[in-house]
């Protein structure tokens, strides 16, 4: 993985010093609230219901075991012994004291981590595919380009005060696992007719209160022009994006109001003026790619026979392998998911003890690296098949082996009313209730691939509008109610879910989700027809009928 140069380290060290000074000045009353707010947000600090929330950047989801241990020690020393992984591959601490945040940032800097631009109206952390570099369907590893973009975004002097937040995601595989079409800029690595790899560029996607699927603005962008093209888009946005209404300030609204053709024309005109000044050289790309060279895989890994034996003899292990591991491009290796969706834990949360143990497992079995997924789980990407059984046993002891990846209880869930100052309704409690209703693992497996996403407000942090089943918390006369959508998808077939009907009360919402799952079981052609495929075939009516049927 990428190792910081002296320059990288200097930037984050000096940023810590700068933020320490800003925070001290604020605490002395020398910076007004509104101005400090902008400064702290650009250092990842929100003020929440109970305490500040610190969002730490997980650059394209890749962490070293050393970094994971540091997260564990921060959770222990500065928080209540746990952290939370987010849908943008970041890490959140829910209980730090504001005056100690500069110390936490100092701790993070000691392991090449930071919280720069994880919030605020600026260029955010670039996200990617959790299977980058190991999946079979990859055109090229997207992470070197994410790193090039990371460096370009950090403290970009021209784009620090944008109309609104700005998110970039890069996918290098044929299956889009990074929800790129719901980002302000989505980049797909593609191969053109001449066999040259470049980027297909999408602009103006986003979730939140106005979910929009991104539009393609350039079918093929040469790698050398990556940064100049991004800069052209950002310059057009910085000058023309709406600043009069924060709900209309995202680039998706600019693209809509300007029209795609005119917007693309403006970007191209700007790009023509700068494309030769901001070239990413081949040497630079090679140097960064070298930092993501494949680890030292063992040629004989596939020769192991113990794996097949254990699969045949241990049903629980076989179940875990089936649901929580994925194919690896190297024979004899598999990708293992670490489920952060145990039924009795808030989705995406991880304790300090678990973090330390995961770091140890990464060192022992997976070249010392851990990845964060956008569905709030972790991945150990390079496991020899001979090690899977031992890994499973250890994960199971740590309650990190719930065999539910991609299943109904692998719920994306925002912190909701329990923690967040914006939320209108609880989410963690609903997730727990759904888990209790789906207590038979066999039933969960029978339901197959299904994505349930639950957000506590229309800001949509849990991406409810692209959930196969989306649940959105709303306020109805001071009470917590929920709107349900069906049929969303954040993959290549990007779709925004359809609303089932009027919102339902807190006491009914879990029952509604359960009924929707029952309708699916009744309606599917056979076990191979997924929830999403069934919904697309039969439409809303059977679901709606059952949800609103008078008992």
């Amino acid at each position: 993985m990428y190792q910081y140069t002296d320059k990288d380290q200097t930037i984050i060290d000096e940023r810590v010093t700068q933020f320490r000074d800003q925070t001290e000045r604020f605490l002395k009353g020398e910076i007004p609230d509104d101005k400090y707010r902008a400064l702290r947000l650009m250092n990842g600090v929100y003020i929440q219901t109970h305490a500040p929330l610190l969002r730490v950047a997980g650059p394209y989801g890749l962490l070293s075991s050393k970094q994971v241990r540091k997260l564990a020690s921060i959770a222990r020393d500065y928080d209540k012994g746990y952290c939370h992984f987010t849908t943008r591959q970041n890490i959140q601490f829910n209980w730090p004291a504001l005056e100690r945040v500069p110390d936490i940032l100092g701790e993070l800097a000691s392991v090449q981590m930071h919280a720069i631009q994880t919030s605020g109206n600026c260029l955010r952390n670039t996200t990617s595919d959790q299977l980058a570099g190991v999946c079979k369907d990859e055109i090229e590893d997207p992470r070197p380009y994410c790193e090039i973009i990371r460096q370009w975004t950090i403290l970009h002097p021209e784009f620090a005060y944008l109309p609104r937040k700005f998110k970039i995601a890069v996918s290098g595989a044929t299956l889009d696992r990074a929800a790129t079409q719901f980002h302000d800029i989505g980049l797909h690595l593609v191969k053109n007719d001449q066999g040259v790899v470049g980027f297909k560029v999408f602009v103006g996607g986003g979730l939140g209160r106005t979910p929009v699927i991104a539009k393609m603005v350039r079918p093929f962008l040469e790698k050398e022009h990556l940064l100049s093209y991004l800069e052209a888009i950002l310059r057009v946005y910085n000058l023309n994006g709406r600043r009069d209404n924060k709900y209309k300030a995202r680039i998706k609204i600019l693209v809509r109001e300007t029209g795609l053709e005119e917007f693309t024309k403006q970007v191209d005109a700007e790009w023509a003026l700068i494309k030769d000044q901001l070239i990413v050289s081949e040497e630079r790309i090679e140097a960064i790619c070298a930092q993501f060279a494949p680890p030292a895989y063992i040629d004989s890994a596939a020769a192991d026979t113990s794996y097949a034996e254990q699969l045949a003899n241990n049903e629980a292990f076989a179940t875990w392998v089936k649901h929580n591991t994925a194919d690896h491009k190297i024979a004899g290796y598999r990708v293992a998911y670490v489920s952060l969706k145990a039924p009795d834990r808030p989705p995406g949360d991880c304790t300090d003890t678990q973090l330390d143990a995961i770091a140890g497992l990464a060192d022992e079995y997976s070249f010392g690296m851990v990845r964060v997924t956008h569905r709030q789980n972790l991945v150990l990407a390079d496991i020899k098949q001979a090690d899977l059984f031992a890994l499973w046993q250890k994960l199971d002891q740590l309650k990190l082996a719930t065999p539910n990846i991609g299943k109904a209880t692998d719920i994306i869930c925002c912190p909701g009313l329990d923690f967040c100052g914006l939320a209108l309704a609880g989410t963690i409690g609903i997730t727990k209730e759904i888990n209790e209703s789906l207590d038979s693992m066999d039933y969960v497996h029978d339901l197959g691939e299904i994505k349930i996403n639950i957000s506590g407000c229309m800001n949509g942090c849990a991406h409810q509008s692209v959930g196969h089943i989306g649940v959105l918390g709303v306020d109805k006369k001071g009470e917590e109610w929920y709107q349900v959508t069906l049929g969303g998808s954040s993959e290549n077939d990007a779709t925004i879910g359809d609303r089932v009907g009027p919102s339902v009360s807190k006491q009914d919402i879990t029952g509604v989700v359960v009924k929707i799952l029952e309708v699916y079981i009744e309606q599917r052609v056979n076990e191979d027809e997924s929830f999403l495929a069934t919904y697309r075939r039969v439409g809303m009516s059977p679901f709606k009928e059952k949800v609103y049927a008078v008992n």
Partner: protein, 150 residues
């Protein structure tokens, strides 16, 4: 009113003249509206001339006129409005403006590092600001990833 120019505290010789007020002998800063309406008189008046651009200005509209100005003032209405950052960058690197680019209005000390990098050369401060601290803030971060003007 204090002024920082090229990282030094200095006397401000310039004054912004409201559209309906008579010009000073020298060092006048005028609005874009006044420039487009009274262009000939302003050129004839002689002396040093500055132009104030509001954050919604379109820089391309005044590019042909840049040779008339020794100063461009970028007026920031509220510190979250980042359009001036692009205006400064484009004036310097695309249109080759080599006069003074100053910022006025609602910017804060914690933004001067960025403003300096996009080519702003002078900063209008309030009397309560500590000018030396503002100058020091321009050096908060000593290394950089991106191309920049300064």
């Amino acid at each position: 009113m204090q002024l920082i120019k090229d990282k030094h505290v200095t006397q401000d010789s310039w004054a912004f003249i409201a559209d309906d007020v008579a010009l000073n002998v020298d060092y006048n800063i005028v609005s874009q509206a006044r420039w487009s309406k009274e262009r000939e008189e302003l050129v004839k008046h002689g002396g040093q001339l500055g132009l104030r651009l509001e954050s919604n200005a379109v820089v391309e509209e005044i590019v042909e006129d840049l040779s008339h100005f020794q100063l461009i003032e970028l007026h920031i209405p509220v510190f979250t409005d980042g359009r001036g950052f692009t205006h400064a960058r484009v004036l310097r690197s695309r249109f080759g403006f080599d006069g003074d680019i100053r910022v006025s209005g609602d910017f804060m000390r914690d933004q001067v590092f960025y403003l300096n990098r996009v080519g702003v050369s002078s900063f209008e401060l309030n009397d309560s600001d500590n000018a030396q601290e503002v100058i020091d803030s321009m050096g908060d971060i000593s290394v950089r990833y991106q191309e920049s003007v300064a």
